[in-house]
């Protein structure tokens, strides 16, 4: 068999090979070069805008770089990180970050899923609901923060405060009280980003086949059993994906909190990102601020790794 195969193209071989194979190899090399040339600009731009700043950040984090005291600048090794581990404000901001992320993500998924289930059951007006729901997402977080601070939460004048007074709770200092301020920023983030979870989960719900729900009805499953045994497991990939994406964004949230509370009162709403910003650009201690940013990066990567592992499981 092998012999006949080898014998067959012998006549052709005189024309084709060995120069034929050389030619195709040359062609492959040339194509690879062309592909590299096409990729190069994008690759370089990406390197310049992401990889280089990241490396520079790590480089800065092992230096003392204090704009208020430039004479003391210099390489300090892991001193910034050692200081960070002793820094109670770092631990406090990390805790705020985790609370903020945990609550906002859970609320977004739960409310988003509830809304998606509700809208799936709607016979009319689904399209309108989708458009209304998407509006908060397209607003800039900074604008959202300003709107909430002025129109919604301002004592006496804000809509939320008005309803609190109406409900007999009295006027509250929504952004001045440490606990209420944290609740407020959580609510604002949830308000803005739940539509994202809603849209993703609605799309996944719509893609689930009707016939398995009919089969489940025939199999005598109640509405709750159908939700628990069929909808939830089938939506699991979408839910995990929403959790991953929203967690990463929540961990690195900035603009809304910055415009609403600036991290205050005191450090009540100071998430790690905001602490790094304050350290770097308010206290001008850029080296230590960089170390904080690297710490945030490590936390984000670790949490993402865990979530991706969860996603792969099963």
């Amino acid at each position: 068999m092998a012999k006949s195969l080898a014998a067959e193209p012998a006549g052709l071989g005189r024309v084709m090979s060995p120069s034929g194979t050389d030619y195709s190899r040359a062609l492959a090399v040339r194509e690879r070069r062309f592909a590299t040339a096409l990729l190069a600009p994008a690759f370089l731009a990406l390197m310049a805008t992401t990889t280089f700043p990241l490396l520079y950040l790590i480089w800065t984090s092992v230096h003392r770089m204090d704009l208020a005291m430039p004479f003391a600048d210099g390489f300090v090794g892991f001193d910034n990180y050692r200081e960070l581990l002793q820094d109670s404000r770092f631990w406090a901001s990390l805790a705020v970050s985790l609370i903020y992320t945990g609550t906002t993500v859970v609320l977004q998924v739960v409310i988003g899923l509830a809304l998606a289930l509700l809208v799936m059951g709607m016979k009319r007006g689904q399209g309108l609901f989708r458009i209304i729901a998407i509006l908060p997402v397209v607003l800039s977080p900074a604008v959202v923060g300003m709107v909430w601070r002025t129109f919604m939460l301002a004592p006496e004048f804000g809509i939320v405060d008005y309803f609190a007074i109406m409900a007999g709770l009295g006027s509250q200092n929504w952004l001045g009280d440490p606990t209420l301020a944290l609740v407020s920023v959580v609510v604002i983030h949830t308000w803005q980003w739940t539509p994202f979870a809603f849209m993703v989960l609605l799309a996944s719900l719509a893609a689930l086949p009707d016939d398995i729900y009919e089969a489940a009805r025939i199999d005598r499953a109640s509405a709750w059993q159908r939700f628990k045994r069929i909808t939830l497991p089938l939506l699991r990939p979408a839910i995990v994906m929403v959790i991953i994406m929203r967690t990463m964004v929540a961990l690195t949230a900035f603009a809304a909190i910055f415009t609403v509370t600036g991290g205050g009162p005191g450090t009540a709403t100071e998430i790690l990102n905001l602490y790094a910003y304050r350290k770097s650009f308010t206290e001008l201690s850029i080296g230590y601020g960089s170390a904080l940013a690297v710490a945030l990066l490590i936390v984000t990567v670790l949490i993402s790794a865990v979530l991706f592992a969860v996603r792969r499981a099963r």
């Binding site: 398995i212 089969a215 009805r217 025939i218 199999d219 005598r220 109640s222 699991r236």
Partner: protein, 350 residues
């Protein structure tokens, strides 16, 4: 045999907006019967099954199962099992979990579920696949899994919505035979929707022929085949379909294209009729209708001839004797008792 599973449909109407999908369906299915709903697509047979299952509600009319009015009951409260055309397996569950699901929903104890699932899987020969997910099964195996999920519950009614239509031809034949054996051994009432008249003929004890939202005829397959009660049923049942030619009846004879054939029908007076002759009942004998052979389809043991007779085209299936050549002139006839007569205006059997 258990005596559960009697079904009665009373004047069931189903409207989709202004379109009436079912225009008043009446039938009764006896316990243990294999009942086929046969008809072309869009004739209302699947809608009928879905109303019986409780997946859709009729616009008016009553569904009675075992003497109890279940019209307003949801599917989950009707104690029926169903095999879907698409199989509708739960994609995230293993075969075992799929089959166990209806038992879990019925709060059957864990200790009973395991042997019941294995028994059902064994009956449909997928007991070696229990750990697989539906996505890892072939079409035929998925179909068996859907069957096992339906039989594991021992429901009083077993509904099948075109269960074989997604299988290849060979597997369809095999499964058809097994399905019949399975239904007999379980003794359960089965309602089977199909557009394939061969499936209905071979499987069903009785069948209802659906056309445009109405039942045209109910009866045993052999009865429906032997005595179709309208031109539409006659044209639908049988392969190749019955030859239907306009003609005229007068004292024991029909006149087709100016030629006379004797029939065993005795009707008073003379009238315009539609004459029906099954291809298999056509005989190539002298003294019949002169025709020309247009085309010969040789099927090995039989041959189907396309014949031209004046302006009409007829088909004849011949299984013995020499097969005529294309272009050859032949004489065709049929025995008097093989000639069906239908009224030319009402299209009903005479």
């Amino acid at each position: 045999m258990n005596m559960r599973g009697q079904v009665h449909f009373d004047r069931i109407v189903k409207m989709h907006g202004n379109f009436s999908a079912l225009k008043g369906i009446d039938f009764t299915i006896q316990p243990g019967e294999f009942f086929a709903l046969l008809g072309p697509s869009g004739s209302g047979k699947s809608t009928t099954l879905r109303i019986l299952a409780g997946l859709d509600m009729p616009t008016s009319g009553t569904v009675v199962i075992d003497g109890k009015d279940v019209t307003a009951l949801d599917a989950k409260d009707r104690d029926v099992a169903m095999v879907f055309q698409s199989y509708a397996l739960y994609p995230h569950m293993t075969v075992f979990e799929n089959i166990a699901f209806p038992l879990e929903m019925a709060k059957v104890g864990k200790a009973e579920i395991e042997p019941a699932v294995r028994e059902a899987a064994r009956k449909v020969k997928i007991d070696h696949l229990l750990d697989r997910k539906p996505g890892q099964l072939s079409g035929g195996q998925q179909q068996r899994c859907a069957l096992a999920r339906a039989i594991v519950r021992k429901a009083r009614l077993f509904l099948l919505d075109e269960p074989l239509s997604n299988l290849d031809a060979k597997l369809r034949l095999e499964t058809r035979i097994e399905l019949k054996k399975l239904q007999r051994s379980l003794g359960v009432t089965a309602v089977y929707v199909t557009h394939d008249q061969e499936e209905a003929m071979t499987l069903a004890d009785r069948m209802a022929v659906f056309m445009e939202g109405q039942i045209q005829q109910i009866g045993r397959p052999s009865e429906v085949f032997a005595k179709p009660n309208s031109v539409d049923v006659a044209a639908f049942i049988g392969s190749p379909p019955m030859n239907l030619i306009e003609g005229r009846y007068a004292d024991g004879h029909v006149e087709i294209e100016g030629h006379r054939l004797r029939t065993s029908h005795q009707i008073a007076g003379s009238r315009n009729v539609i004459v029906g002759i099954r291809p298999g009942a056509m005989r190539l004998e002298a003294g019949g209708l002169p025709a020309t052979v247009d085309l010969v389809e040789d099927l090995g043991d039989t041959a189907v001839l396309d014949l031209t007779l004046g302006g009409a085209t007829l088909r004849a299936r011949v299984s013995d004797g020499p097969v005529p050549k294309e272009g050859q002139a032949v004489s065709v006839t049929a025995r008097p008792e093989d000639i069906h007569l239908f009224d030319a205006t009402t299209r009903k059997r005479l």
